[in-house]
Symmetry: C2
Amino acid sequence: MYSIGIDVGGTNTDIGLVSENGTIIARKNIPTSPYSDYHIYVKDIMEQINLMFSENNLNLSSLSGIGMGAPNGNFYTGCVEYAPNLKMKGLLEFEKEFYKYINVPVVLSNDANAAAYGEYVYGGAKGLQHFIMFTLGTGVGSGIVIDGKLVHGSTGTAGELGHCILIPNGRQCGCGRKGCLEAYASASGIVRTYCELRTDNQSQTSWISSSIPDSEITSLMIGKAANAGDPLALETYRRTADLLGLAMANAVTFSAPEAIFLMGGPAKVGDPLLKPLRESFDKYILDIYKGKCCIRMSELKDNEVAILGSAALIHLRK
Amino acid sequence: MYSIGIDVGGTNTDIGLVSENGTIIARKNIPTSPYSDYHIYVKDIMEQINLMFSENNLNLSSLSGIGMGAPNGNFYTGCVEYAPNLKMKGLLEFEKEFYKYINVPVVLSNDANAAAYGEYVYGGAKGLQHFIMFTLGTGVGSGIVIDGKLVHGSTGTAGELGHCILIPNGRQCGCGRKGCLEAYASASGIVRTYCELRTDNQSQTSWISSSIPDSEITSLMIGKAANAGDPLALETYRRTADLLGLAMANAVTFSAPEAIFLMGGPAKVGDPLLKPLRESFDKYILDIYKGKCCIRMSELKDNEVAILGSAALIHLRK
C-alpha cells in the first residue's frame, strides 16, 4: 500500500507518493499562490496524484490515505482554518473536498505536528512513546507525542511551544505578545540577537563586516561565521541556546518525554548551537528528569521531512 | 461496587471508602510519621479497610480497587520512589504489598495528579477531555488530562508545572533552581512577595501591623487583609496572579485544554487572586486559544478532594 503526503506551503505545494517503509517513490510540485479557490486547488492536486500513480504503473486502489501538513491545518475538522499566508481565504474544507474524488482517509494537521509524526513513523523517534519536536525556521513550531499519539488538544491546534513566553515583557513577537521563544530562536530572532550584540558590544570583534546593514544579515551568515570561530556569532548562539534549553526544560515538566528532537535551518549550524543547548538544558532541567531525556537532531532529510511527515499523518486514526 | 482512596501525607494517612457516585461513606485516619517499614504500614492500612467494610456491613468482594495519592507516587511502577518527606525510605513497593492481602487493582500517582483525576471522575471536569489542574499549597502541583487520560509521561512523573521556570535567574526555588512558578505562587511564595513589597514600599500602607516579623506572616493573613481591601495585600495577589496567569497561558500552548482548574488554600482567597488572574491569563494567552479555555475553581470539597482523587485513580487502566 502507498500513501500520499502533501505539504502546503505559502508559495509551493509538494506532493509525494510514499511507500510503507517511508521511501518517497515520486514527487510533484504545484504552485500554491495562484489559487484563491480551494476546490480547484484540490482538483489540480488530485490530477497530480493520478499522474504519479499511472507514471509508476500503480493502481489508485493501493492508496491507503492522504496526509496533509498545512499552516492552521486542523486535525479534528479536516479543514485549514484562516491561514494568514495563503491566498485561499476562510475555512478550506480539504478533507471533504478530497472525498469527492477518492474514498480513503484524509488527515490534516499543521506542519510542525506533521514533522513530529514523520519522525515517529519514519525517523529517529520510531519506537518512542513520548517526545517533542521543535522546528526552527521562519518561526518556531512544535509537535508533541504522548503515549504514541500526537497531541491536538481540545481545539485541534495544540503544540505551539514557539509561543511559550520565556521573558515576560521581553522581545516583541510576531504573534503580538512579548518574550515568546519564537522571538529569540527563529531565524529572524537569531539575526536580531546578533545585530543587538554588535550594536551593544562595539569592542567585541565579529568577522562579518560591520558595513553590512542589519537588514542584510541572515542566520545562515551568522551560522557560517560561528563555525569559523567568530566570537560575536558564537555568543549569539550561546544566548539562543540558553533560551531554547530553558524552553525545552520547561516542556519536560509537562510530559516527561524520552527525547526532544530538533530540526530546521537554524538548527543545522551544529555545535555552536547544540553544545551550549545541551549545557543549558542540563542547567534548567528539574532534578527528577535529569538524565532521562536527551536532545537529538531529526533523522529525516531536509527535503523529505515535509512529505514524509504529512504522509505519516494517515497513521493517526480519528 | 466501592473503591478505597488513600491519601498519603507526611504526617497523616487518610483512608476513605467511596461509592460509585463519589460519596465518601466512611473514613479512617492513621499517622504516617511513626512508620519506617512500609510492610507494616500497608498491613495497618488493610486493617482499617477491613474495619470500614465490616462497620458498614459491606463485603470486601464489593471492593473494585485501591487508589493511592502519594508524594513521588509512580503510576507505572506502583511504587513511591524516594519521597523526601516520608520516614519510610527508598523504594516503597505499595502495589506489590497490597496484592499480598487483596486481589484488586492498586493504582498509584502523585497527589496533584490524583486531585486532577478526582475532578475528572467526580468534580467539575466531568465530561471534559482536556484540562489542567493547578494545586496551590506548600508547593505548586499540577495534573494534566489529555484525551481523557492523565499524562504520566515516560517516567511516570510528568506534570510538574510548578517547576516551569517563569523568570530566568529569578527567585530561588526549593527545587534548587531559580524562577519557578512555585517560588511565586505557593503559600510561602505569596508571603515572600508580600514581605518584599512591604520592605520596598515603605510609603504604601498595609493593615497588617509592621511589627509582625516576616517569619510570622502567613498567606492566610495576607488573604484576609486583601479581602478587607489592604492595598499591599491586594498588590501581592496582583503580582502572584500575573505570574500564575502567564504559567497557565504557557500551559495552554502545550495541550490546548478546555479549562484550567485551580484548588488549594492560597486559591481560596477568591477575587483578590481570581480577578487579576483572569485578566493576566487573557493578556498572555495566544490569540488562537482566546475564548476557548477558561479558569475554574475545583468543585470538590477541600476535605474530600484527596480521598476522592485517590479513589478516582482506579479508573485509570494500565
